[in-house]
Subunit: 376 residues, 2 copies
């Protein structure tokens, strides 16, 4: 295996939480970091310039989606994912394990890999772990993911173990297939909500040795309590000098709790998807912009927010755009929600650095639960 | 009637064509000007910042649409159309005559005004000419339009005359209803493709006296030849010291021909609508981005174009976005097409100022007809 190009350094701690720096050849990322999801080589409704404005530094792409359309060969010929989508910052690509789990039809999972039907044209395709690595090497992201098997929640212990064993076997094969020295490879811990499986999976992946470690198979319905418990078993098994990435998480509350447990990296479609559905985040909770109470409301989404949407537009205008089905609605709401998430991460990093994460968490959760309706 | 706040000055001529300056309280506009259409208080898929980037100075709103949703009262309470949509440049609102003609159902046109069913909720509404002015005064645009009756093409001379007479009667009533001194009021010349009607309508509107004159009822299927003939009868009847606005036009070819005939202002949904349908403009004609030939094409839409889309993205990426149904496709394509139109207007103004409009026109049309396929 090639030597890793990814440098990671812890710069502050508060309990199990930490702030760090992830150095990639496309720039340095401060952690804990929230990575907006750009599945199809675009973060929905955002130009890269708009995304930069929010403070985003690192984004996600998806090997499953991009290999089906437009094909990783096309992207490779056009300068890789960075050049193709005009994003010169760090990128992480997911291997597609979760997408096969959630999107593909008639999938058959064997030790050889995953057989699935494309959700685009129905073609039957086989994705062995080495192929997932090849695709990601062609895409050229800074961080790529080993292939894993994600199980639904709840899963019987035997089912979870089988998927966990397969995940480890695939991690080994992903590791062996990995050639590009300028890309970091992360292993993914599975094991559902079973302590022994999570600990064992983490230990065995660490034995294989990866540039970073992801925690997969969470936020699939187990609830915040079980997710936090699972993090409590998993994180301590991971090396302190390597980044930890909690996949697909999540709500502001989940991100804060997981960062407190020692997680460094996050991604989630929630801020963008909610925005497209007229649901925006404020310090005092979520606001639904289609609500009739906003018809004449001259206030911005969040009076405390400095994003371009809140500086330029009223709730009444946002409601109008959503009611009229205008794309600008989703564009401005996405910009705001992305800003909200990046601002949350800035505050979180500040709180960890200042050693006051507990106080920050208490205040944030109290405000966030208070509800926008009661403001004035 | 209040004194007009709109100043217009001719600064260069080339044949019948002219360059001018339109001074409004929201800024100065160089003419000939192309005004992007922001029917619902948004130019589709563009933030005001993106729109500014293209060189757009003045935009359109629509009284018919905005009175139905969100209601001109809402917009008035929120600072008028400028504040509501966060556009601090000049705005023109159309009265809605054309929208009643094209969108509304069960319309019944009487001398009193237009009775129509809302295309949004089916409610039956009456729009007398004074009401169209009231709505536009509440919206607060810099230029507002008198109410007119647009006839389909072809129209019998008697049908066209009846609509033309009604247009003049409504123009008088619009004029009488007009109170806001800071808004200019334009009359609209109708008369289908009949020389005597167009000349008579123009003369009678000039007798009433407006701050500017629009030419309506063209680009409704009569073809470029008849449109140019009609302009040739109409424009000479209009005062040289007032701006002339050709409504709903048009293609690059139509704009060039109409500017040569002495028209100063244009609007059309074409650049934005084409963009959303993956049809983009280049110096060498239109390009359809969904075409398979662009699958691997590393070139920008137009190698000569300096817009952010052409500076940042390949045709292959644009095609991918359209195939994947991603909003960024329409955003980037709209940005490009709007830039193309504004660039065309810049070149047109330059050609008029330099007295070489004929040479410019010949070169532009030859290039534009050449076709992108043959480039290299």
């Amino acid at each position: 295996m090639a030597e890793c190009s990814l440098k990671y350094e812890v710069i502050a701690r508060d309990g199990a939480a930490r702030c760090g720096r992830l150095v990639t050849k496309h720039g340095t990322v401060e952690t804990p970091v929230f990575m907006p999801v750009g599945t199809n080589a675009t973060v929905k409704m955002m130009t890269p310039e708009m995304l930069r404005t929010t403070g985003a530094t690192m984004i996600l792409g998806n090997a499953y989606h991009l290999s089906l359309r437009p094909g990783e060969d096309v992207i490779a010929r056009l300068g890789g994912l960075h050049g193709f989508m005009n994003w010169d910052g760090p990128i992480l690509t997911d291997s597609g394990g979760y997408q096969v789990f959630s999107l593909a039809k008639l999938r058959r999972i064997t030790d050889e890999g995953v057989e699935f039907q494309s959700h685009i044209d129905g073609a039957t395709l086989m994705m062995p772990p080495a192929r997932a690595v090849d695709i990601q090497e062609a895409l050229g992201a800074d961080v790529i993911m080993a292939c894993d098997e994600c199980v639904a929640y709840p899963a019987a212990p035997e089912t979870a173990r089988k998927a966990m064993e397969r995940t480890i076997a695939w991690a080994e094969r992903s590791r062996a297939a990995h050639k590009r020295a300028d890309q970091a490879l992360f292993g993914i811990v599975q094991g559902s909500v079973f302590e022994s499986q999570r600990r064992e999976c983490a230990r065995r992946l660490v034995e294989i040795g990866f540039d970073g470690y992801a925690i997969g198979g969470l936020s699939v319905g187990e609830g915040a309590g079980l997710m936090n418990e699972t993090l409590g078993w998993t994180v301590p098994e991971l090396p302190a000098d390597r980044p930890r990435y909690l996949m697909g998480v999540g709500t502001p509350e989940d991100i804060i709790a997981s960062a407190a447990a020692g997680v460094d990296m996050f991604d989630c479609v929630m801020p963008a998807r909610n925005a497209r559905n007229a649901c925006v985040f404020t310090r005092y909770g979520k606001v639904r912009l289609r609500n009739a109470r906003h018809r004449d409301d001259p206030r911005p989404i969040d009076a405390d927010c400095e994003c371009p949407t809140c500086r330029g537009y009223s709730r009444a205008y946002m409601r109008h755009l959503f009611m009229a089905g205008e794309s600008l609605a989703g564009m401005l709401a996405t910009l705001h929600n992305m800003w909200f998430y990046q601002n949350l991460m800035r505050e979180l990093r500040g709180a960890i650095t200042d050693g006051c994460l507990e106080a920050f968490t208490g205040r944030f959760l109290a405000d966030f639960a208070r509800g926008d309706e009661e403001r004035g």
